[in-house]
Amino acid sequence: VSVINTVDTSHEDMIHDAQMDYYGTRLATCSSDRSVKIFDVRNGGQILIADLRGHEGPVWQVAWAHPMYGNILASCSYDRKVIIWKEENGTWEKTHEHTGHDSSVNSVCWAPHDYGLILACGSSDGAISLLTYTGEGQWEVKKINNAHTIGCNAVSWAPAVVPGNLIDQPPGQKPNYIKKFASGGCDNLIKLWKEEEDGQWKEEQKLEAHSDWVRDVAWAPSIGLPTSTIASCSQDGRVFIWTCDDASGSTWSPKLLHKFNDVVWHVSWSITANILAVSGGDNKVTLWKESVDGQWVCISDVNKGQGSVSTSATEGQQNEQ
């Protein structure tokens, strides 16, 4: 009932990621068939705009840049490459290819637009690289080696908003943002990184709670409310919500959202971080929200038959086979 559009992507192999652009008009998908596709999904339509070929392995994730920089999409693949695609005069083309990793690149994430065009990439080689657009087609690369032993699975930027700024008195001057991002990896850790004044990236925090690979990390978007929040999910079936209330941003405390019986693949925040979507190994999606008294509650209770995001037709097909 809740499905308003079913996009048949015609990918020839399984889809790993699907991301709506900033305005919610275009959908980018990527697949093991090595392609990235972009669809116009306005008004319930599904017009294929671009079928981007260039990767030589499964494409794990896509990320839209802020539209102030144009229509830009990044993708990362098993082929160790990160490709940045750009729409010029209505045509999508590869604008940059980053080949600085020794193994599968598992995650890409654009920094908040306030910082410029910066892309973080996490790889199975354990490193995280940061590509900064310096103009005229040039990309500067910084690399954090050995960020995660055995590999990095996810990267997610901190929002460029000072926590609590919205509800505080208007600040006298523009605050000086510190660039930060979170990463999760096969060392069961979540790490927070921040850019030092000299432009070097330094590990700021190590968040330990998971007992197995961290599959995904999502730093919650912020409109300037007091608490900073990070969600993480793991192979161990646990989803943790990490919160930080102090101004220095150094004390993070975990709260177990739920222990699932299966691996949890993804966590994803709604646009202003009121709702968390959890995608689990049981192929169910659950939606969670923090209650007034600080408890995380599942608001898409499958048992009630309402609000659940069932896999509908797909389940039937699976059962047949």
Partner: protein, 851 residues
């Protein structure tokens, strides 16, 4: 051949090993990225052969199974030719491997024979037991068994794959026999797993005791990774050692397992490997760099307009459609209490958009519900706040003090007299008749004696005392006469006499009279106030013994005069006192009467931030939907009056509310809120936080395309942002370009003072936005030369009529006091920087002269 260094992690070992024999490596691995497509034609093809390679490799030196290749091929007969061909290819090139296998077999058996305990201790037990010490047992178990549990997802050759997503994995079928082999070759497989566990545990250990083993592995790591990288260069991007999740890891097992771990694992676990593995569903290992996903997986993400994007975990290579569903969050969450709560409120409330009946109904329902809510301590005051909004709406935002007094006493027509128990008939009746009566008998002895609880005032004694008073005066003994009158309760005579004597005496008599009243009598409050002092009630109310606070506040409100400062301070202090007693709603009511400004959450000196909500609570508990709705209803009710003024600090909460709407799937309503907030901000941009402005722009621009108004417009216009958004962006740019200049500008009053009602008129004109009107109003908002597209669209929205102000409006002060003030000679408060919240509480009626 010399045995490899035993402490090398298998993967690296193999990395180097592979380096040595590149030509022998099976052909299907393309040496260069250019040929990769072939290789990647089907990723499963890739893995199966690898598995095959691994097991075949194991077979080779342990349990050869010549029939395997063909049986596998038949298994795969439904697959495309390249995949079928692959194993064949592998087997033809297998010869190259056999030498390695032999070597391994030798090495393995030698290890096995030795069973060197020292070696176990060092490489396996060592790290293990140190690990067990460093971490508690449970952690160990987690670390040990979770990888097994998860492995079915990462690897296709485990029994559990029968259960779910794995049934689609081609590897599934291809590895049938490998399951059988499991039982036949427990050693090899078992060893594989063990090796990984110890590797894993070594990696999990961050504690000092394991330093030794870590160090050794780290050093080998760097060595080997060097080789590995070199190798990468030569082999191109498809170097199998670099392929996560398959080759490097799998390959490692053979080595590693046949090295030393396999041997140890047995004594330690002491169960037959094959059987236990099939039940625990354990898989080979944690590979050192896995592929991110090897099975279809659901993936949910949000879109900006209340969409939930969901990747359906299908396997198109098995004929399933590659679908991505877009769900409506609005529908998904339509039965959640929160969405119902949000939908029940008719916001955003605008003077010309919202019918006040809707707001009145909403507020009335809320007022009624207050009495049913078990969590509310002071139900009457909670209800009072809502009823106040109802009253404001009904009277179009204009109320006078007596209106509120009536509201306060509506269900409190009676109040306990002090010092009496509730069971006795000791009530002051505040019904109108009673009030009139009181007024009539104000100076009468009967009333006074009643109030003072004096039973002696009989008519005869009264006459007698009057006679005495007269007598004293006859002889000119004024002071004695005065004293006698006071003693005997002849306050009328006493006061009249004193008023004709010196002012000090007069004051003394008045004080003494006042002191003869009980301290918690509302009369005290009004007399004290009229004397220009802050009544005792303001610091004593809210106490059980003191009695009800309402008559005192009602007394103040009904008898307002020009002494605005004291009256306002009295009510605010009353609020503070009530708040300190935990009566928050009552306190907020007092603050509203005192026209306290709506403050800031982080500033603890703020009197109130959201109506009826305690801003010392944690943010989520404080900024509830209901509190925001209530405050917005109040803001709306105020706007109905002539003295409209939005609450600047409150706009932030409307924005927070809009974000909640958007996330709960109510994108249209959320966008509507953004517009309302933006218009409120644009009236006085300098009164608002830059953070709010920039966040509002971001959220609004993402919601913009979900505005149903767009559907009415031609498609090319959908790229045109609404005028208010363009203006807001312009303001933001100005702030960014020079906050200092901007602030300075903001400190000056606008050239044409923007009175609240003129704002309303501007905004509620024909179109959604009137940029020109605003531009004229505020030099900050002068748009840069708009591009053609923009101007063409803006033109339509411009109001055709020139900006005029209603004749009745005074330019200048927007602050309309609660208390009557003489008309100011000129602008009293230049620059309405911070607009007062309670400006609608005007008291237009002339006050009677005071005492």
């Amino acid at each position: 051949p010399p045995p490899p260094p035993p402490d090398l992690p298998s993967c690296y070992y193999y990395g180097s090993f592979y380096d040595v024999y590149p030509p022998q490596y099976p052909l299907p691995y393309p040496p260069e990225p250019g040929t990769a497509p072939l290789y990647y034609q089907d990723m499963y093809g890739l893995y199966r052969p690898y598995d095959g390679a691994m097991s075949a490799y194991a077979e080779n030196y342990r349990c050869p199974e010549p029939e395997r290749p063909s049986s596998r091929a038949s298994h795969c007969s439904d697959r495309p030719a390249p995949r079928q061909g692959y194993p064949e290819g592998y087997y033809t090139s297998k010869g190259g491997w056999s030498s390695q296998s032999d070597y391994y077999a030798n090495y393995y058996s030698s290890q096995y024979d030795y069973g060197d305990p020292g070696r176990w201790d060092r490489y396996h037990y060592g790290s293990r037991f140190r690990g067990a010490r460093a971490y508690d047992q449970r952690y160990w178990y987690d670390a040990e068994y979770n990888p097994y549990r998860k492995e079915p997802y990462a690897y296709g050759d485990r029994p559990e794959r029968y259960d779910d997503p794995w049934r689609y994995d081609p590897r599934f079928t291809s590895s049938f026999e490998e399951d059988a082999e499991l039982h036949r070759e427990p050693y090899g497989e078992e060893g594989d797993r063990r090796s990984v566990h110890s590797e894993h545990s070594a990696q999990s250990l961050h504690s000092a005791p394991s330093l030794h083993s870590r160090r050794s592995s780290v050093s080998s790591h760097s060595q080997q990774s060097q080789i590995y990288r070199n190798h990468n260069v030569t082999a191109g991007s498809y170097d199998p050692t670099a392929l996560p999740g398959s080759f490097r890891g799998d390959y490692g097992y053979g080595t590693y397992g046949s090295d030393f771990n396999g041997v140890q694992a047995f004594p330690e676990y002491g169960y037959p490997a094959g059987a236990s593995w099939s039940t625990t569903g354990a898989a080979p290992s944690r590979p050192s760099s896995p592929e991110k996903f090897s099975v279809p997986h659901v993936c949910a993400r949000f879109g900006p307009g209340g969409q939930l994007i969901k990747v359906i975990p299908n396997l198109p290579s098995e004929g399933q459609p590659a679908l991505v569903e877009v769900h409506s969050m609005e529908t998904l969450l339509q039965h959640t209490p929160e969405q119902e709560e949000l939908r029940s409120f008719p916001g955003p409330l605008g003077k010309d958009d919202t019918h006040k009946v809707d707001v009145i109904n909403f507020a009335q329902q809320k007022a009624t519900k207050c009495f049913q809510d078990e969590n509310i301590i002071d139900k009457e005051s909670a209800s009072l706040l809502w009823n106040f909004i109802v009253l404001l709406c009904r009277q179009n935002g204009t109320v006078v003090g007596t209106d509120i007094a009536e509201l306060l006493l509506r269900d409190h027509r009676t109040a306990w007299l002090p010092g009496k128990s509730p069971s006795e008939a000791n009530l002051i009746d505040f019904t109108n008749e009673a009030v009139e009566q009181v007024e009539e008998e104000e100076s009468g002895e009967a009333q006074l004696s009643f109030l003072t609880d004096s039973q002696a005032a009989s008519t005869s004694s009264l006459e007698k005392e009057t006679e005495r008073f007269r007598e004293l005066l006859l002889y000119g003994r004024k002071k004695d006469a005065l004293e006698s009158a006071m003693k005997n309760g002849l306050w009328g005579h006493a006061l009249l006499l004193a008023s004709k004597m010196d002012s000090r005496t007069h004051a003394r008599v008045m004080t003494r009279f006042a002191n003869s009243l009980p301290i918690n009598d509302p009369l005290q409050t009004v007399y004290q106030l009229m004397s220009g002092r802050m009544p005792a009630a303001s610091t004593c109310c809210g106490d059980e013994k003191w009695g009800d606070w309402r008559p005192h506040l009602a007394m103040v409100l009904s008898n307002l005069n020009n002494n605005m400062e004291v009256e306002s301070r009295t009510m605010a202090t009353m609020g503070d006192t009530l708040a300190s007693k935990g009566l928050l709603d009552a306190a907020h009511f007092c603050y509203l009467m005192a026209q306290a400004d709506f403050g800031v959450y982080t500033k603890k000196t703020s009197k109130l931030v959201l109506m009826g909500s305690n801003h010392s609570l944690p943010f989520l508990k404080f900024a509830t939907n209901e509190a925001i709705q209530r405050t917005e209803a109040y803001e709306y009710a105020q706007s109905l009056g002539a003295h409209t003024c939005s609450l600047p600090h409150f706009q932030v909460y409307k924005f927070i509310y809009a974000c909640r709407l958007a996330d709960m799937g109510l994108a249209t309503q959320a966008f509507h809120y953004c517009e309302a907030i933006a218009k409120s901000i644009l009236v006085r941009p300098h009164a608002h936080s830059t953070v709010l402005i920039s966040q509002l722009i971001q959220v609004a621009s993402r919601l913009r395309l979900f505005d149903p108004q767009l559907k009415e417009k031609p498609e090319e216009e959908s790229f045109v942002e609404p005028a208010w958004l363009v203006q807001l962006q312009h303001v933001e740019r100005q702030i960014q370009e020079g906050a200092g200049v901007w602030r300075q500008d903001g400190a000056f009053p606008p050239q044409r003072p923007s009175t609240p009602s003129s704002e309303v008129e501007q905004y509620d004109g024909p179109g959604p936005g009137q940029p020109a009107a605003l531009s004229a109003e505020n030099p900050l908002l002068v748009l840069p030369l708009p591009n053609a597209e923009l101007s063409s669209s803006s033109v339509q929205l411009l109001p055709s009529a020139p900006q005029t102000f209603p004749a009745t409006q005074q330019p200048g002060p927007t602050r309309v006091p609660l208390f009557p003030v003489p008309p100011p000679p000129g602008p009293v408060e230049p620059g309405p920087v911070c607009a007062p919240p309670g400006s609608a509480l005007g008291f237009p009626e002339p006050m009677r002269p005071d005492l």
